[in-house]
């Protein structure tokens, strides 16, 4: 994007959590290489939000395009968590589906999805839900064509609802401390099942149950990043190089991996109980660990790394 000043996109200085979707993409890519498809100048806006008297965005809350990453062509989608919680509406979802379908012909080195979403946009719920299903089918087609699909999760809105299912369909996931991956969000569980089941105001509980460290320790994510854009870039490059195939052997391995998880940890009440069984010496210390200490802890947990996704 012309007009984005280099100072604002220094990948070492830029916080993934604080950055906008467009800043993340520009700073993640090799300098000056990002080309956006259906950019905001085309003003493809939701035809539905005005019915609800809600403001619209020129990009419907998602940035899609092409970039170079270490000289190789990649396709990139980045959700904007600040617009409608990054939720999937009709156009938002269709841009992601179109990008994935384009990958089949373009054969990029990878497709990167920068998740930042609360799930389906309820004002366009049926369109959003259907787009999520289309996205998952398209990801499987792309993976089966030998193209890695890498999810990067560290935004304000987390990766919730159908976004969590899409993340589970990707070849590999990188997550930061601020990233949360879950289907039902804390408020949804509390609203439906009560505060005894899940107290959504207990932020430490939210991070322990859905946060990046827990997901990394149990093998729900493949890399843990410090919060800078450059950390995500490094993780993405690494994960592209070790993406599992999409075939029966991979899914059989995932079946075994997840069944083993349920058998070993199905009676645990809290994430700290699981971490203890995984062999983490001081589970209570995990939430406060810095990236280096956490990486060392992860390196001793066998379940964290696998080919079963």
């Amino acid at each position: 994007m012309a007009g984005v000043r280099p100072a604002s996109t220094d990948p070492d200085a830029l916080s993934w959590y604080e950055a906008t979707a467009r800043q993340r993409v520009v700073a993640l890519a090799d300098p000056g290489t990002f080309q956006e498809f259906l950019p905001p100048t085309e003003r493809r806006m939701s035809p539905h939000l005005p019915l609800f008297d809600l403001p619209r965005a020129f990009d419907d809350g998602i940035v899609v395009g092409r970039a170079a990453l270490d000289g190789k062509t990649v396709l990139v989608a980045a959700q904007e968590g600040r617009f409608m919680g990054g939720a999937f509406g009709e156009i938002h979802g269709a841009k992601l589906v179109g990008l994935l379908r384009a990958a089949l012909a373009l054969k990029p080195a990878a497709v990167l999805i920068l998740f930042d979403t609360g799930g389906v946009r309820l004002q366009e719920a049926n369109a959003g839900e259907t787009a999520i299903a289309e996205t998952m089918r398209a990801i499987v087609d792309v993976r089966a064509a030998g193209i890695p699909v890498i999810g990067l999760i560290g935004g304000r809105a987390g990766c919730y609802g159908g976004g969590g299912l899409i993340a589970g369909t990707c070849s590999r996931l990188a997550v930061s401390e601020g990233g949360r991956i879950s289907v039902s969000g804390p408020e949804v569980i509390e609203t439906n099942k009560g505060a005894e089941e899940f107290d959504s105001r207990d932020r430490a509980l939210v991070w322990r149950t859905m946060g990046g460290k827990h997901r990394r320790l149990i093998g729900g994510a493949d890399a843990f990043c410090a919060g800078s854009v450059s950390a995500f870039r490094k993780a993405a490059l690494d994960l592209i190089g070790r993406a599992p195939a999409f075939d029966l052997a991979t899914l059989e391995a995932e079946q075994a991996r997840l069944e083993t998880r349920l058998a070993r940890f199905g009676d645990c009440r809290d994430a700290t109980d699981i971490w203890a069984r995984l062999g983490v010496n001081d589970p209570e210390a995990v939430p406060a660990m810095d990236t280096r200490a956490f990486d060392e802890t992860v390196s001793r947990v066998r379940e964290a790394d696998h080919e079963a996704r």
Binding site: P47, V120, N126, T130, E134, G164, L165, I189, I218
Partner: protein
């Protein structure tokens, strides 16, 4: 229509389909071969345990290599909403089930969804919406979220939402709206034999994902197909 009636209609010569804890697995003789059946019955929420039971059944069918069709019958609640399910990685388990169904489809097993009751949210995405073609029986009630919950989240008055729901398929719960968006391909005729209708669906399966085209034609998702096509076109220009 109830599951027992559906199974009786599909398998006049009997079947091995069982329902345990709301989870449906089994199969029977169908046309000149076998029809595998997996699914959720009785408005049951789908959690980590159930998702892995169903995915195992699907992967067993793929491993057998018989390329027999797989029918996914659905009368479910939403995903099971609990601390335990999220702690254990519900997103991975539901995605795994969807991937198993998508792999089956790619491996030559026609996958057909049949929604005959309720379904919602993550359970709907991981089952019925992960099939090649989704059929419904009249009276089915798929939704993303019920209107009282939508009212709570959007902070709009329920009576206003109910009024809008009459004319706006894109957000309102219900079968007609899911047909309009293209998520449900076809509504079956309960007055005609079910086995013949399912057999016809299998015989006429088309490659590709045509849900956005259906949504455009039916008016429930007016712009999605065009947006996707525009992205592909711009991506194709060097």
């Amino acid at each position: 229509m109830r599951l027992a009636e559906i199974l009786a209609g599909l398998f006049p010569q009997g079947h091995s389909v069982t329902v345990r804890d709301g989870l449906v697995t089994g199969g029977g003789r169908f046309a000149d071969g076998t029809l595998h059946v997996v699914g959720v019955d009785g408005d049951t929420p789908l959690g980590v345990d159930g998702a892995l039971v169903l995915s195992r059944a699907v992967l067993d069918a793929v491993r057998a290599g018989d390329r027999a069709p797989i029918l996914v019958v659905v009368d479910s609640d939403s995903q099971r909403m609990s601390r335990r399910d999220e702690l254990l990685g519900l997103n991975e388990c539901l995605a795994h089930l969807a991937k198993a169904l998508l792999l089956a489809d790619r491996s030559g097993h026609p996958t057909i969804g049949l929604i005959y009751g309720h379904s919602a949210a993550g359970a709907f995405i991981a089952t019925a919406l992960a099939t090649r073609i989704l059929a419904a029986l009249p009276g089915a009630n798929p939704s993303v979220m019920d209107l009282p919950s939508v009212a709570k989240v959007t902070k709009l008055p329920l009576d206003k939402l109910q009024e809008m729901a009459k004319s706006t398929p894109v957000f309102a719960p219900g079968l007609d709206n899911m047909v309009a968006t293209g998520a449900v391909h076809v509504v079956l005729d309960p007055g005609k034999p079910l086995d013949g209708q399912i057999r016809d669906l299998i015989a006429n399966l088309k490659p590709g994902d045509d849900r956005d085209r259906l949504g455009e034609e039916r008016g429930g998702r007016p712009v999605a197909r065009g947006i996707g096509a525009a992205v592909i076109a711009q991506a194709g220009r060097g």
